[in-house]
Symmetry: C2
Subunit: 340 residues, 2 copies
């Protein structure tokens, strides 16, 4: 049976096709399947395993539960010269972003800055794939998305906020974009799940058990416990800001507002997402990408070896050269879900 755990290498396109097949087989439209498959295969390719194929059983479960509409057609609303609104129709956020993207880019280039407010949407993926492509075309992008109650606000007794990530991307003259994607919780939910699956202990300060007591056991966090914000009251303030921007400002649900109890197997938070895109060519002085290159140069000179996103880009190059490594058991499970 040991062959089951040897890695198999798959080309990016082959993985995308396989994932598309899984999504379509579980009720999504071809368009939605393509968007989600590219997103998920991209995370796996970049070594972002907690948002890679690890998520597929969750996607299948939530689609099977009827909680999310895999065939939703996003409705794009051109609200103002710098503001686009999308009703994702109870579907995933990524197809909503894809539908609004051309208008958003046009507005950002014309107005200098533009906002995209997505509501009635489910976000179950990493957030950096939403911002990175803007930086690849010379724009600066910031995005926030709220999720589901699992983080105790600093100074509170009970969980209320989601893991509420903030992602940022900016172009750079001499290399790939500068990109980060950080949960405002002390640890991402997916990483807790992965630690629980591997039977590993977490570092201190990540979460509490069902009695509100500090714990390093990922299972105690997942079973009635909760996460803590990163960086104490500051991370907590940022998490609150994400609730306000991603939910209050878009017309989406707060992380504590949706009730999926009638949909056993539901996994995806039904909330909102805000994107802000800025055209840095409107700024004064040297071109932005030369300035960001200078900042990176100085960060390295100060002794910083790795920039946020560097590891992902190295993994991406490795995957391009030798394929995406999946363990045989995981691949077999994907093939089964695809009905092969």
């Amino acid at each position: 049976m040991s062959a089951q755990n040897e890695p198999v290498h798959l080309a990016f396109d082959a993985l995308v096709s396989l994932l598309q097949q899984i999504f379509v087989r579980h009720g999504t439209s071809a368009e939605v399947a393509e968007t989600l498959a590219l997103n998920c295969a991209g995370a796996e390719r970049d070594g972002a395993h907690s948002h890679g194929v690890f998520r597929i059983p969750g996607y299948v479960s939530t689609l099977n539960s009827g909680w999310v509409n895999g065939r939703a057609v996003p409705v794009v609303d051109d609200v103002a010269s710098g503001f686009v609104r999308v009703d994702a129709g109870g579907g995933f956020a990524q197809p909503a972003l894809a539908a609004a993207r051309p208008l958003l880019v046009e507005k950002a280039r014309s107005a200098g800055i533009a906002a995209l407010a997505i509501h009635n949407s489910h976000h179950f993926a990493a957030l950096w794939p939403d911002v990175e492509p803007f930086a690849e075309e010379g724009l600066v992008a910031l995005s926030v998305v709220n999720s589901m109650t699992c983080v105790v606000p600093h100074g509170a007794d009970r969980p209320l906020f989601g893991t509420n990530p903030i992602a940022f991307a900016a172009p750079r003259a001499d290399g790939g974009p500068i990109v980060f994607d950080l949960a405002t919780s002390a640890i991402a939910h997916g990483d807790v799940q992965i630690a629980a699956r591997k039977g590993e202990k977490l570092p201190a300060g990540m979460g509490v058990d069902s009695l509100g007591q500090p714990t390093q056991d990922p299972k105690a966090i997942l079973e009635g416990g909760a996460l803590l914000p990163f960086g104490g009251h500051k991370g907590s303030a940022l998490s609150m800001m994400v609730e306000l921007l991603a939910a209050a400002l878009t017309g989406g649900n707060f992380s504590f507002e949706f009730d999926w109890s009638n949909h056993p197997g539901a996994k995806t938070p039904w909330t909102g997402q805000l994107m802000i895109v800025i055209d840095p060519s409107k700024s004064a002085g040297q071109p932005f990408a030369l300035r960001s290159q200078e900042l990176v140069r100085q960060m390295h000179a100060a002794g910083l070896r790795r920039l946020p996103g560097d590891r992902r880009h190295r993994e991406r190059e490795k995957s391009a050269a030798s394929g995406i490594a999946l363990d045989a058991a995981a691949l077999a499970q994907l093939r089964e879900l695809a009905g092969e």
Copy 2:
């Protein structure tokens, strides 16, 4: 001499007048004096002592050094339907914001979102006074400003970033705005100075000494040492974002770029500032202020006693009722600086 240390209570307007007199006497225009005096007296009134009258000797020192232009007239540039640029002319950032404010608000209400990029500016004050007034008129505001090299990026050997604060304000239906202002360093520079003056030790994890070793001695941090970012690599990523938005995007200096060695007594970082203002009436669903009220209600229900900004608002009420408490020695120093 003990009478020297008994608090004296001053009305807000009286403190503003006294500070105006100090600024004008040290070379600012009447307009700049008014803006800075209102800002500084407002911080003192709200109990934000590290940005209150404690800063006045620093303002005087930097004005005397010729490093900052106290008579600068900001030049406002209407760049695009959502983008305003201001050259602060080597003066303070607050008069630049004041000059651009009407245009910025008009653009935010019309485009749904607008950016203000200030460069060639000095910011020596708290950041929340820049965002709070927008929320008081129903807008959501976010601002970042970079400062001067004193924070070691996570994973680096030497300081590079400034304390690089992020401030946010949002309206709320049943009370004052939700406001926070957080340094992306583990502690604000002003608080290190206050601890050093009082001879107090800092909590662990705030900074390093001149050899890069962890220290709890504020003097060791101020004399050749440096601060750490809050929340490890996440706070560090946010600090990097502030450099990119406040400097690269505006045309301002990075925190490590200016050289004030020819201006002994110079204290004010010569950098840039970005403001993003959003009109939440463009969003879907219930009015934003009712939604933020609901979030606050749920935060209290989860056991949170104090919201960010609550302490400031209580101090403000106290100051309104009984005047702003200053110790007699500090007041005597202010009077002397005012030439009284």
